[in-house]
Every structure is written in structure tokens, then in C-alpha cells.
């Protein structure tokens, strides 16, 4: 009880004594843990390398400017590949994610005991593996190239899209669904009239958002050979061609800026 009696007045405190002590203890142990970890990290750090880090960073920085502008001729195609990987990957993911979402949502799943857990498993496994790791796997299976990138992006995005979509399906207004059911509509008609209009705004929002994320992810897939502008980045890093690296980073930045602008526009237009 934070309220105590003190002769005549009632004293109110934010926390009672026990909670107060617990808070102190938590802060004390947290601080101690931090200090201990700091010491551990410090012991295992080669301070020699860290100490000259500013000099080296300044050195690389000075080599990075000015960017090698004429290199841009070699970047247009990889950039176009990157956009394609993101867009086609997202489309493929959407096609696959919609049925998974309907199987995973508690109120639409045709078999809550068998298919629903499978759908949830698909979602979790897709989300738990980074697209860079998907690319590594796919490059060794399919060989290097844009296709591996597209499939990697799609596999990574299924879980994201399906999860947000099935949560939206579970939150729909059941009254509207009941109303459609009472007209004698079939199962598929109930979905098309009772459920789809309710989740459409979420679907559009999630798709555009995921496309936006995928543009960013697809810029690095080339590092492991899955096509796109990352290939050029890898090549330039390998030969220490810093002015080219600068230009590539600049182009990635502009592309992401463009996708952000476009997705914001699209979201406004549709929702």
C-alpha cells in the first residue's frame, strides 16, 4: 500500500517500500553487469587497431572522394536488375502469402488442427532466415544470378506479408461476414464479399511497405552473387576502388529515397 498514515495526514508515495527496493536492486545489478561486460570486451579488443582507426578511416575517406562519375555507365543495368529483383520478388511473395494467410487465420482456416500449424510454420521459417542467407543457399543451388535474388526476396517476404495479413483477417468485423453468410452465399463468396473488402487496405499497405523494404534488401544480395548492384559493390571493394564504392553507395541511397517517395505516394492514393 503506497498510502501510509502519519499521525493525522495520509502520506502517498508513488511506490511502496518493497517495490522501491526491487527497483534499486534491478538498477544496481544492471549497472554491475554493464561494467563487467565492458571489462570483458576491453580485454579481448586489440586496442592497437582501434587506436589508429580514425587515421585509417580518414585515409579511406580521402580516397573515396571524389566519386568516379564515369563509372555510372556500368551501374544502370545492375540498378535495373536490383529494382526487378525487389519488384518481382515482392509480387511472387504476395501470390504465395495470400493463401498462407487465409490458412493461418483462426477464423478462416479450413483445418485449425493441421493446416493452421503448417501455415504458421511456413511464416516463422520464412521470417527467421535473412534474405542474404536465402541468397547464399539459392546461389549454390541455382547458380549466381538475378533468379536466385528474386526467389530469395520472395521467400523472405512471404512470412512478413502473411503474418500481417492473417492478423488483419483475425481482426475483421464478423457481423459483416455473418450478413453475407445469411444471404446463402458460398464459402468463396463469403471471402470475396465479407472478408476481402475489409482487409484490402491492409493488403495494399503491407505490399507497398514490403516492396520498399525489398528495394533495400536487394541492393546487398549481389554481395553473395545473387545479382543486382551488390555485385558491382563487391567487385569494387575487392579491388579497393574506393571512388567507385562511393558512387555505388550514392546510387543505392538515391534508389531507396525514390522507393520511399513512391510507396508513400501509393499508400496515400489507395487508402
Amino acid at each position: 500500500m503506497p498510502v501510509e498514515m502519519n499521525s493525522q495526514e495520509k502520506i502517498w508515495k508513488h511506490r511502496d517500500r518493497k517495490t522501491q527496493l526491487t527497483h534499486w536492486a534491478i538498477w544496481f545489478f544492471g549497472t554491475a553487469l554493464f561494467v563487467w561486460c565492458w571489462q570483458l570486451v576491453s580485454e579481448k579488443t586489440e586496442w592497437f587497431f582501434v587506436l589508429d582507426a580514425p587515421t585509417i578511416a580518414a585515409d579511406i575517406g580521402s580516397r573515396m572522394v571524389p566519386p568516379r562519375w564515369e563509372y555510372i555507365d556500368k551501374l544502370w543495368v545492375p540498378l535495373w536488375d536490383t529494382l526487378n529483383i525487389a519488384t518481382l520478388g515482392t509480387l511472387l511473395a504476395l501470390v504465395l502469402a495470400v493463401p498462407v494467410a487465409f490458412l493461418a487465420a483462426r477464423n478462416t482456416s479450413p483445418s485449425p488442427t493441421l493446416l493452421r500449424p503448417i501455415a504458421l510454420l511456413v511464416i516463422v521459417s520464412s521470417r527467421s532466415i535473412n534474405s542474404l542467407i536465402w541468397s547464399l543457399l539459392l546461389v549454390s543451388i541455382l547458380g549466381p544470378g538475378v533468379l536466385a535474388g528474386i526467389i530469395a526476396i520472395a521467400l523472405r517476404s512471404i512470412g512478413f506479408v502473411a503474418k500481417l495479413l492473417y492478423e488483419a483477417i483475425e481482426e475483421i468485423d464478423e457481423n459483416q461476414v455473418e450478413a453475407i453468410k445469411t444471404t446463402g452465399a458460398s464459402r468463396s463468396q463469403v471471402i470475396a464479399y465479407g472478408i476481402v473488402p475489409q482487409i484490402l487496405p491492409t493488403f495494399v499497405g503491407v505490399s507497398v511497405f514490403r516492396w520498399d523494404i525489398n528495394i533495400r534488401e536487394s541492393t546487398v544480395l549481389g554481395l553473395v552473387g545473387a545479382g543486382g548492384i551488390g555485385l558491382q559493390l563487391q567487385a569494387s571493394l575487392n579491388i579497393l576502388a574506393w571512388p567507385q564504392v562511393t558512387l555505388i553507395l550514392l546510387m543505392i541511397f538515391l534508389t531507396v529515397l525514390f522507393s520511399e517517395w513512391l510507396s508513400a505516394k501509393a499508400r496515400h492514393a489507395i487508402i
Binding site: 455473418e178 446463402g184 452465399a185 468463396s188 475489409q198
Partner: protein, 269 residues
């Protein structure tokens, strides 16, 4: 036409919402189902079209048992039973016209309905119904742009385009103001008379029930405690249905309210 035989519903929580209800509704009769919240009114009408599965007893529509129908048989029977909801239950993001036409889904194939290619006869009926409920200029509006009374009119048109034989109406006026409530109740009962429709109207407003229904059934804790004409609802009966309350005072207040309402209407005319 509609016959309930010892209809019972026990929810998984153990609540017995309905206890062996027997009820017969002849063709063309408008019946008001009154009773306090939780008496089982909603459960009763939802057991008829099986939005809620009854746990015992039987429902017969024109002699056909509905309780054991499988999905395709259930869909066929649901086409004959229109339903109007308390919160209108319109598909908010579809247009008024799409909402009305959705009443025909039981008669139209999936792809035709998906691409909104309804038969011309359905579209004609939809326009004439919208005209009848006074919403024809609104056909292209989205349902979420309408006011409560307008939405309920769309709900009525959607139920009627099914060409039902029975209308189930669940608290049609609970979300509406007193005047709109009367207009909606008047519209529903007029349409039932025009089309010789039987209707079960759940309503907790006793005065409205007396004003518009031919027969009143009082439900209390899942059992029927009154079944008779509107005049037979004495203070004793109301006490039995709802519990102790000064019913004459309530009545007086309501009748003065309705006089005022009639005065309003005359002013408007």
C-alpha cells in the same frame, strides 16, 4: 410456416440460452420478440438460420427440418430467410448498390459475383428496392458514408432482394434515435404487409413492439413467458418479463414521447 420444436441452446460456457422453446409463426405474421438483455432473443433468431447451432430440438421451415442440413442445403434455405442486423452489418467498403446486390449471392455463381456481373433482373429489383426505401440517389455511395438510418434502409433492401419468405430482424432500432427508430419499424412492417412476409423482430423497446407488431412473444431467461396480442401486455406481464418496475410511469412517458414524435412529423409534413 415456421415452427420451432423444443429448441434449445446450451453454450460451451454452460449457459442455457434457450430452454425448449416451442413457437409457431404463420405466413405473413409480424411477431415481436421482447425481453431483457440476455434473455436469448438473439440466440433464438440466430438458431433459425443457424448462425448459432442449436443444441437440441428442431426448426421447421414449411415442414422442412433445418437443423440437420449440410452446407449446400443450408445455403439453399438461407436464401429464403432474410436477416436485418442491429449494427446494420453492411460491408463498409462496398457501395450501397454492391451491398444490396450481395443479397443475391445465393443465386449467382462465384465469378459472376466476383466481377459484379449480376443479372439485369436483379439490378432492376435492386433499383426499385432502393427507390422504395428512399435511397436511390445514394446507390453509388460507399456504405460507410451513410447515416445510421440510411444504413439500416440498405440493410432492409439487402434482406428483401433475397425474396425471402421469412425475415429475421435483430434489434433493428437499437442504434438509432427514437424518430428514426419509428420510421424504420414502420418501413419494415409495411414491407412485410406488402409482400406477405412473416417476420420475427427482436426488440427491447416495448412501446415500439406494441405499436407495430401483430403478436408479442416475451422471452425471459430462455423461456417463453408471454405469447399474445399487443393489448395483453399488462403491467403484471411486463413485470414477469422484465422484473419489478413502475410500468404505468414508463408507459406514460413513452406515450407522451410518441405524441411529441407525431407532432414532429406533422410539423415536417
Amino acid at each position: 410456416m415456421l415452427e420451432l420444436k423444443k429448441l434449445g441452446k446450451k453454450y460451451r460456457t454452460g449457459d442455457r440460452a434457450l430452454k425448449e422453446v416451442d413457437l409457431t409463426v404463420p405466413a405473413g405474421q409480424v411477431l415481436a420478440l421482447i425481453g431483457p438483455s440476455g434473455a436469448g432473443k438473439s440466440t433464438l433468431i440466430r438458431c433459425i438460420n443457424r448462425l448459432v447451432e442449436p443444441t437440441s430440438g428442431d426448426v421447421l421451415l414449411e415442414g422442412e427440418s433445418l437443423t440437420h442440413l449440410r452446407s449446400s442445403g443450408l445455403r439453399r434455405v438461407r436464401r429464403k430467410i432474410g436477416m436485418i442486423f442491429q449494427e446494420y452489418a453492411l460491408v463498409e467498403r462496398l457501395s450501397v448498390m454492391e451491398n444490396v446486390l450481395s443479397g443475391r449471392l445465393g443465386y449467382v455463381g462465384f465469378w459472376a459475383s466476383y466481377f459484379r456481373r449480376f443479372p439485369q433482373s436483379d439490378i432492376d429489383t435492386a433499383f426499385s428496392l432502393l427507390d422504395r426505401v428512399g435511397l436511390e440517389p445514394m446507390a453509388d455511395k460507399r456504405a460507410d458514408e451513410l447515416s445510421g438510418g440510411q444504413r439500416q434502409r440498405v440493410g432492409i433492401a439487402r434482406a428483401l432482394i433475397q425474396k425471402p419468405e421469412l425475415l429475421l430482424v435483430d434489434e433493428p432500432t437499437a442504434s438509432l434515435d427514437p424518430k428514426t427508430s419509428r420510421q424504420i419499424m414502420r418501413l419494415i412492417t409495411e414491407l412485410c404487409t406488402e409482400r406477405k412476409l412473416a417476420a420475427i423482430i427482436n426488440i427491447h423497446d416495448v412501446a415500439l413492439a406494441q405499436m407495430f407488431a401483430q403478436r408479442i412473444v416475451g422471452l425471459q431467461a430462455g423461456s417463453i413467458v408471454y405469447d399474445g396480442n399487443p393489448e395483453g401486455l399488462t403491467s403484471d406481464v411486463l413485470t414477469q418479463i422484465y422484473g419489478e418496475e413502475d410500468w404505468t410511469a414508463v408507459r406514460k412517458q413513452q406515450s407522451s414521447e410518441s405524441e411529441r414524435d407525431i407532432g414532429d412529423l406533422e410539423e415536417n409534413l
